[in-house]
């Protein structure tokens, strides 16, 4: 029978459409449209936690995490400072504008190429402050240690915390230590809280993006997530990828100097760039349209993602941010970012449209379009 290489003689190209999919693709647009609207209404419903027990999905940074935060924590603690659900709270204390945040670190393994839990614990909290435009100043450090944890490992973790703190210009000024029985924790967990001062005039907000803005990513995405997934060793994949963990303070400064109209910045940790873009689109009630071919992804990260069947857009970074800036400030912003080693790979990856509201769209490398939704559950390896 025939292979694909049949002679092309039979082809008579009649009408030539002027682009892919010029004609509407759905035979029943009104019915489909009604369903789409019904779904959007359902998505705006008050979140609730339907599960009886906490599952790993609740910690993945995606939809289940959002539901947990909004349905449980926000309900219980509701106040105007918490309500914006930014990465940090902005406080007005005695005439000073202060940013305050907290973060816990439970990464496994504790040591991985390019960093360790200690470095993450400092940089993660520093970054949650920095992306508000604040200058991070002081950290607390709480340790939960498992009985039997080698002191030598603890020393290593603490030393890298100290060096990360020095590098980021912050001081660890208070702390706490608890030890739990063997088997009740995975070696070492760290919580850090941090405060910083807002000396700049800019007030950034996830709800500030508007039509005509540009979306910027500060460098190649997914390095950290892939590094940790591979470092666990269960997948038996070798690579030279290293975590991107870094303090973003200097990069944020450069960005705000070059693009003073910057609307919002978030560091793309759990849930990756896709999740941050969705948060911006929903909070600002706009559409973010990304161009797949502009999104920087290292070849190795792409390769590992192919093997695992996951999408780098959802893979965590620990030293990258996503920013929305006014369209006319995008170029200078990227030029400024690229002047710093941490921002060498910065790219304008997309733009903001008014419709469809609350949605992130992707123009694929292949020339098609699709939605990029919030992450549901962990980015599980897809084999089938």
């Amino acid at each position: 029978m025939n292979g694909p290489h049949t002679p092309a003689a039979e082809r008579g190209v009649g009408e030539v459409p002027d682009g892919p999919g010029d004609a509407p693709t759905s035979p029943a647009p009104s019915a489909e449209q009604a369903v789409l609207e019904r779904i959007e209404r359902a998505r705006r419903r008050k979140p609730r936690v339907a599960e009886e027990r906490i599952t790993l999905s609740h910690g993945s940074g995606g939809k289940a995490t959002h539901n947990l935060v909004e349905a449980l924590f926000l309900e219980a603690f509701r106040n105007p400072l918490l309500e914006p659900l930014e990465d940090q709270a902005l406080l007005h204390l005695d005439g000073e504008h202060v940013a305050f945040t907290t973060d816990s670190f439970v990464v496994s393994p504790l040591f991985f190429p390019g960093g360790d839990i200690g470095e993450l614990a400092v940089n993660g909290t520093v970054n949650d402050l920095a992306v508000s435009g604040a200058r991070p100043l002081y950290l607390s450090a709480g340790f939960i240690l498992e009985e039997g944890f080698p002191v030598q490992d603890l020393r290593r973790v603490i030393n890298s915390m100290a060096s990360a703190a020095q590098h980021a210009g912050v001081k660890v000024v208070t702390g706490d230590t608890k030890v739990v029985q063997r088997g009740k924790a995975d070696g070492c967990y760290i919580n850090t809280s941090g405060i910083g001062v807002l000396e700049r005039p800019e007030r950034l907000s996830a709800s500030a993006a508007r039509e005509g803005d540009a979306v910027i990513v500060s460098g190649p995405i997914g390095d950290h997530g892939v590094t940790v997934m591979l470092a666990r060793g269960e997948l038996d994949i070798e690579s030279d990828v290293r975590s991107d963990t870094a303090a973003l303070t200097p990069l944020v400064e450069l960005l705000l100097d070059a693009a003073p109209g910057t609307r919002c910045i978030r560091d793309a940790t759990r849930g990756g760039v896709a999740t941050i873009c969705n948060e911006f689109a929903q909070a600002s009630e706009v559409a973010l349209v990304l161009d797949e071919h502009r999104v920087p992804v290292r070849a190795e990260v792409r390769g590992a993602s192919e093997i695992l069947g996951i999408d780098p857009l959802y893979v965590a970074c620990e030293g990258r941010f996503v920013a929305v800036v006014p369209g006319d400030q995008a170029r200078p912003a990227v030029d400024a970012l690229r002047s710093h080693p941490l921002g060498e790979g910065a790219e304008i990856v997309g733009r903001v449209l008014s419709e469809p509201r609350g949605v992130v769209l992707l123009n694929t490398e292949f020339g098609g379009s699709r939605i990029v939704d919030m992450l549901v559950g962990d980015p599980l390896p897809r084999i089938c």
Binding site: A8, V16, S239, A304, I307, I383, C384
Partner: protein
């Protein structure tokens, strides 16, 4: 249904005769080549990997044929577009 990804064999017999190390855009993993052993797997060959097993060898010649066939369609399309734009000018 069945994710299969192309990888280039970089080493055969990594520890066992039915294992090979493959490279997928810069990351490497050992896969089992027991299902295609008889085809003779050598470094430089490309294989299709599914859940840690190589399912088949990829045929570069066939891949080129497919692409050059698509190229021809593209050429016919280009010609048609040119003809179309000429006809509009007249």
């Amino acid at each position: 249904m069945c994710l299969g990804i192309p990888g280039e064999v970089v080493e055969v017999g990594a520890g066992r005769p039915d294992l090979a190390k493959v490279d997928v855009s810069g990351v490497r993993r050992v896969v089992n080549i027991g299902l295609i052993e008889e085809e003779g797997v050598r470094p430089g060959d490309w294989v299709l990997i599914h859940v840690g097993f190589a399912l088949s060898k990829l045929d570069e010649e066939e891949a080129r044929l497919t692409l050059s066939y698509l190229e021809q369609i593209g050429q016919a399309y280009e010609d048609e577009l040119k003809a179309l734009s000429r006809s509009e000018i007249e």
